[in-house]
């Protein structure tokens, strides 16, 4: 506490300039990361509100809380907001933006003004989407399947499609910035093989963002044009092919799920070695697996279409490739587990989130194999089994990684420590609430409950009630960090430069960092994750 007087005087990126203009016209990657943090948190709660509506309606088999149309809009907008306005930007735009320049020893990203532009594009798209929501919403499902979306739906498909089209450019520009930064801005001595795995994973993510996002852009544009100009490209009665839409849509949307999970894996690759005091087991393999996931991920899209009318033989090829893409993910899980072997493990909040990730991503990934298995997929496709699978990887995986990362780097970002006991409590509540919400959905899906059902046969009710109960617990788990993280900004203990005694260049600068990150450009002469040279963290930082 004696250091308080000195540290609050020091200039850092937060107090370098004051005023709303200095934030809205900033080119500092760290401030832009915080701008993103605010906007994606906002959309997380909007998307979460729709989830609440869904789960409340599904408490009873009858459709008695809202009309069918309202329910269809609720699940559509829940999906679109969560995927496009929360999950895809989340870790890259917040943690990636904040950390990548520091991790490689640079003063900023390669294109700081484009970074700011990407945030404004995100906000513009978000406003358009909110306009769509406010004027009646959209009910096509997040997948926009034609000809329902292009011809039959009476909702605001054009606005929603355009909003997602626009937000795609935010994603593309972020990816562009990261790729060029990693190639051109590394400090002297920071070779590719010394890069933190966080950077490797984000690099792979950025490749997918760059190459995949334009496809969804043009696909949605074609749907918008079809609706606006009555073109007929996807209308079978005029020679169009609705299944062509599905191929175009999934060509992006499958790699998109790797955009959502790779950054989360990036975070886990930083947390696990730090709280095991040990370098990552098999660094080269973990790095290579990120690239492999990105590459193979582009080749599996039609596993979403096994019953859509594709030929038998293409189904065989896509099933086979879908099994292939599981291997690099499994390799990562094994390597993280092996990192803990003979380590020195501490149960800090970030580590609890990492444990949760490893467990839940394992389950989510394994259930993906069920979906890759052709004969089984025929039964479980478009049922709650699929919903359970992707929530296990997206929420149990990506969101837990996101929360773990927020907690791990909170001292660096804010200069404050969050209250550790509350952090651990929230992590446990999230884990328990999550499992209660989504595990029953595997069962009710196998029993045959289809997705996107406003009403359902009564025999499915018990599982739905369990799921809703879990959702309410999960909601508490998500609200807690909102509260105590905000609390910590004012009342949290001041953070030292490196509270966790972690390796990585970002920990060599102050908490919070100065605007240009480093006093002098670092020259790197050591390998990544040299935990054997690091002292143990002060026990005090890990206690309340």
């Amino acid at each position: 506490m004696a250091t308080a007087a000195v540290t609050t005087e020091r200039k850092n990126y937060l107090n370098a300039e004051y005023g709303i203009r200095s934030w809205l016209l900033t080119t500092d990657h760290k401030r832009i990361a915080l701008l993103y943090l605010l906007s994606i948190t906002f959309f997380f709660f909007v998307g979460g509100f729709f989830a609440l509506l869904i789960r409340l309606e599904l408490l009873t088999p009858a459709g008695d809380l809202m009309t069918a149309d309202m329910y269809n809009k609720a699940f559509t907008m829940h999906g679109q907001i969560m995927v496009f306005f929360f999950l895809i930007p989340s870790i890259p735009a917040v943690l990636g933006n904040f950390l990548i320049p520091m991790m490689i020893g640079a003063k900023d990203l390669a294109f700081p003004r484009i970074n700011l532009l990407s945030w404004y594009i995100y906000v513009a798209a978000g406003l358009l989407y909110l306009y769509c929501l406010a004027t009646g919403g959209v009910d096509t499902g997040w997948t926009f399947y034609t000809p329902y979306s292009s011809l039959f739906s009476n909702t605001h498909v054009v606005e929603a499609g355009l909003a997602i089209f626009i937000v795609g450019f935010s994603s593309i520009l972020t990816g562009l910035n990261f790729v060029v930064t990693v190639h051109r801005m590394r400090a002297p001595g920071m070779t590719w093989s010394r890069l933190p795995l966080f950077v490797w994973s984000h690099y792979a993510t950025s490749i997918i963002m760059l190459l995949g996002t334009p496809i969804i852009a043009i696909t949605l544009l074609l749907v918008v044009l079809e609706r606006a100009l009555n073109l007929g490209i996807f209308d079978p009665s005029r020679g169009g092919d609705p299944v062509l839409f599905q191929h175009l849509f999934w060509f992006y949307s499958h790699p998109a799920v790797y955009i959502m999970i790779l950054p989360s894996m990036a975070v886990i690759s930083e947390i696990v070695p730090c709280f095991s005091r040990k370098r990552v087991f098999g660094y080269t393999f973990v790095a290579a697996s990120s690239i492999a996931i990105a590459a193979i991920g582009f080749l599996v899209w039609a596993h979403h279409m096994f019953v859509a009318g594709i030929s038998l033989y293409s189904a065989l090829v896509f099933s086979f490739l879908s099994f292939m893409v599981a291997i690099p993910s499994a390799v990562k899980v094994f390597n993280w587990t092996a990192t803990m072997y003979k380590g020195s493990i501490s149960f800090s909040t970030p580590m609890l989130y990492a444990f949760g990730f490893i467990g839940l991503f394992t389950i989510g990934g394994l259930t993906g194999l069920f979906l890759a298995t052709l004969g089984v997929d025929v039964h479980v496709h478009d049922t709650y089994f699929v919903i359970a699978h992707f929530h296990y990887v997206m929420v149990g995986g990506a969101v837990m990684g996101y929360l773990g990362g927020i907690h791990f780097w909170w001292p660096k970002i804010s200069g404050r420590m969050y209250p550790e006991a509350w952090g651990r409590l929230a992590a446990v509540i999230v884990f328990l609430g999550f499992n209660l919400t989504f595990f029953p959905q595997f069962i009710v899906g196998y029993l045959g409950m289809p997705r996107r059902y406003w009403q359902y046969p009564p025999e499915f009710q018990v599982y739905n009630v369990l799921s809703t109960a879990g959702a309410s617990i999960l909601a508490v788990g998500y609200l807690l960090p909102m509260v105590y993280l905000l609390w910590s900004l004012r009342y949290g203990k001041l953070a030292p430069d490196n509270p966790w005694q972690a390796t990585g260049l970002e920990w060599k600068t102050t908490s919070p960092p100065p605007t240009f990150n480093f006093e002098e450009t670092p020259v790197v002469t050591w390998e990544a994750y040299e935990y054997e040279t690091m002292p143990m963290p002060d026990e005090v930082t890990l206690e309340r």
């Binding site: 200039k11 990126y13 003063k107 060029v180 930064t181 801005m185 760059l210 062509l244 060509f251």
Partner: protein, 240 residues
């Protein structure tokens, strides 16, 4: 340097004051130029994917509805398309020469070549606009007034399906429309760059914006080089 410690300012600020075009987060001009160049190449990669989606749709439907596509293609103005192709190739020449002029520090020549590039770009758009207007007059624009009966009657042996012909024109307008949009953006970028060149902002040491704008322009040109045969030259055999 030590007296700047803790103020949040970079010790390299002084260096950057000598070279105003060097942005503060880069160590030197070479790094800045390499970053800009790599960034533009990756961006062009995303543009390939963007057009790629439409090309994919085009290829699928062309294979399925070949007669209608061929008839639609023959109805396009070969003269206009060929002239436009020549115009764009000339504009790529002028932009390449402009980059050379900037490397040699020849300001007047640079400005003239940039203006010529924009002129060719505007010519292209003018001719394209004329074509579209013509197609609209013939009811071939994929609006509510679309009517391909003239094509059906002119090709009696093919017994064309007018709906499938509309798909050709939909893709034609989507592809050339998105391409034209990229050209408009390109001309906008060049107008800014021409102004900067006229004001003497570019030197043999620093002309990165011209190089990367040139890259973008070449890409837009190459897209047209693909579009022209795929749209205009599907089946131009005599007697077809």
């Amino acid at each position: 340097m030590s007296d700047r410690a803790g103020t949040g300012e970079s010790p390299l600020v002084l260096e950057h004051e000598d070279r105003p075009e060097l942005r503060h987060h880069f160590a030197d001009v070479v790094q800045q130029r390499n970053a800009a160049s790599l960034g533009m190449w990756w961006f062009l990669g995303t543009e390939i994917m963007f057009f790629g989606g439409m090309f994919c749709g085009y290829l699928v439907y062309r294979r399925a509805y070949f007669p209608e596509f061929a008839a639609g293609s023959r109805s396009l103005s070969l003269v206009a398309g060929t002239v436009n192709t020549a115009v764009l190739i000339c504009s790529s020449l002028t932009v390449a020469l402009a980059v050379r002029a900037s490397q040699l520090g020849k300001r007047k020549l640079l400005v003239s070549l940039l203006l010529a590039t924009m002129f060719f770009g505007v010519c292209f758009l003018g001719i394209k606009g004329y074509e579209w207007h013509d197609e609209y007059e013939h009811h071939h624009a994929p609006t509510f007034y679309f009517n391909a009966q003239d094509l059906v009657h002119n090709n009696p042996n093919l017994h064309l399906d007018p709906q499938r012909t509309k798909i050709f024109f939909s893709l034609y307008f989507a592809l050339t429309g998105v391409h034209a949009l990229h050209m408009i953006v390109g001309i906008g970028i060049f107008s800014v760059i021409t102004f900067m060149a006229w004001r003497g902002k570019f030197t043999p040491e620093y002309h990165t914006p011209i190089e990367i704008a040139g890259l973008y322009w070449h890409f837009v040109d190459i897209v047209w080089i693909y579009l022209f045969p795929l749209l205009y030259l599907i089946d131009r055999r005599p007697g077809a």
